[in-house]
Symmetry: C2
Subunit: 388 residues, 2 copies
Amino acid sequence: MDSLKGEGSAEETLAAGSATGAAGASPATGTTAAARGAGPADGAGDPAGVSLPRRAPTLEAVAELAGVSRATVSRVVNGSLKVSPEAHAAVTAAIAQLGYVPNRAARSLVTRRTDTIVLIVHERPDTVFSDPFFANVLRGVDEALSATDLQLVLLQAQGEVKRDRALRYVGNGHADGVLLISLHGDDVLPKAIRASGVPLVMAGRLLTGQFVDYVDADNVGGARQAVEHLLGTGRRRLATVAGPLDMSVGVDRLRGYREATTEAGDPAAAGRVAVGDFTEAGGQRQTARLLAKYPDIDAVFAASDLMALGALRALREAGRRVPDDVAVVGFDDTALAAYADPPLTTIRQQVERMGQEMVRLLLARIADPDREAAEVILPTELVVRASA
Amino acid sequence: MDSLKGEGSAEETLAAGSATGAAGASPATGTTAAARGAGPADGAGDPAGVSLPRRAPTLEAVAELAGVSRATVSRVVNGSLKVSPEAHAAVTAAIAQLGYVPNRAARSLVTRRTDTIVLIVHERPDTVFSDPFFANVLRGVDEALSATDLQLVLLQAQGEVKRDRALRYVGNGHADGVLLISLHGDDVLPKAIRASGVPLVMAGRLLTGQFVDYVDADNVGGARQAVEHLLGTGRRRLATVAGPLDMSVGVDRLRGYREATTEAGDPAAAGRVAVGDFTEAGGQRQTARLLAKYPDIDAVFAASDLMALGALRALREAGRRVPDDVAVVGFDDTALAAYADPPLTTIRQQVERMGQEMVRLLLARIADPDREAAEVILPTELVVRASA
DNA sequence: CTGAAAGCGCTAACAA
DNA sequence: TTGTTAGCGCTTTCAG
């Protein structure tokens, strides 16, 4: 819903605008009036007027007001059953009156919990832009976490220095659990984290065969859906641009493609594979390769949407019409797919849900460190945008 | 660079794959072998073999090993100058040997610092997808933070409950500073945070005229660039789809448009305004309105890329050719702009840099809470993709 | 069911 | 320059 306010209604709001409009390469840093408002004096003396409490109320204060001991307040705060109704009421009231909130540091110091979970992102700096995956996982994680009172801290682990810092951080008990979203096949991180004994959940399966909790999209199934769709719409000469084979995503999507084509009685198609790197340029290059090698293909399954975009480009350059001559189906369904030209048919994975499930798994493992390793595979969905 | 590995080289990696392929709507949760490896027993007894240190080494341990007092170790850790070279060396060695890392909780308890800064996101759930802005700011923030040893915690503040939780969190000294990235005009959050006295930096200017540190793109200048570009390529009947006028982005981009058209001697153009909501649907609707009211416009400046996409759609539906009949320039330059059909000319803002500058400002304010409020305006850039 | 007391690991006076 | 001594605010036995 957008406002249908007529034009011209914005003038009054312009009053506060600063005219700063730096056009050069470096930012203009202007300074305006003093930041701190008309609050009470900060100095030592205590002026006549109201004096803000400089320190947050403590358990002690609550106890005193409620007429009980600190221990009892602590019990109430932590939901212990063994507190009399009267005590409970008094404490609750005192807490409300004082606006008491527990001090996490103090609590953490004694409990050795941190009420914090860490999301470690292990991402190539150059893949950095155009990555809705990350944002959406994050969204899901945050959403799932908001039902708890865990805090989410973000750690980048790109490069040795940052990686070690992240490792030290989790290794020294600064987090109750770790969520690892690692885009490449490098698996020193998972190993190191597991070694530190902190609960860990990954996005994507480990190719090394270790058992770690993880959630993943049904990449095999999704790829099969793509093949079935292509076959179902009459395509007969399929090929695929696979993702990197040191990642489970890459491996699984290729596997789904191969299984589906083979089962459909077309083992030759299972062999028409070029391995890309999930980038648009890679998709374009590998599609060109496929085209050179198998000039008569009439469908391409690209293992990512970016690669699908590249495929589109390669096909255009090769003079093939999409979808008339060659159909393209991509994996991952970002906004890009919707605006591609021609619009891309894609396999959608539930990225946000992935984040949610990761949290669910992590909480379960924190609760019971000895439970069996679990995997959650989220279904995928075919999104048809073009009549491919 | 993508690998040019021939097809077929993936087979061996498939061995570890689980066959789980849930196609239904609910996730399949399989359990595999026990998670925890062959680590030492967790129980009370201490088996014959190696026993891992269950607890991280403390200052005390370092002190003992180094033959000094805890205070001295603390001084070394915190970089105090008043430590003898010998003591320093001994402590450093002990720290290395033990792998000592300070306990943040303990430190925080006494220093009342948290070494944590909070990024509060105040976002509509429905704007959630297709929002590279957020991810890129985040990237910049994280990057800037990685030079310090501050931790980044993420807080969502959507809805009263979450908002209050976030407010309580920062209000109770759980963060040394707050970064606020608020997409709509609602300004109860900034006010509340400022009231709590925690250092705050915002993305975007406050419309209420309060002085708070902020960094923003040069929205006015960017809009001017758009107008100048349009005028420079021969367009004579400009119109704009503005953003919401309760946000500084909306206001400023409209202002730039008006200033530029007015200065170019075309005050009438300054009046051809429709107010959208930054969504594609809104852009489409408002462009349609503009078209109805001013049938002879030959250029549209859309205050966001999504709205530009909507404009494209509206123009197509109205039978106008882009860019031949009507040129479109959008603001914000996401991947979408690159794949729009026809390709969109846009004004790019340095979103990642924005995050970096926010951190810079925040650190400065933490260091000196009484400094003057500062603003950083980042330059924008015209990205021409079509010959509009 | 409740309170007293003992720290969790660290920093910051204050003495020496 | 160094060590000693108090706590920071909270949880958690252990008595009562």
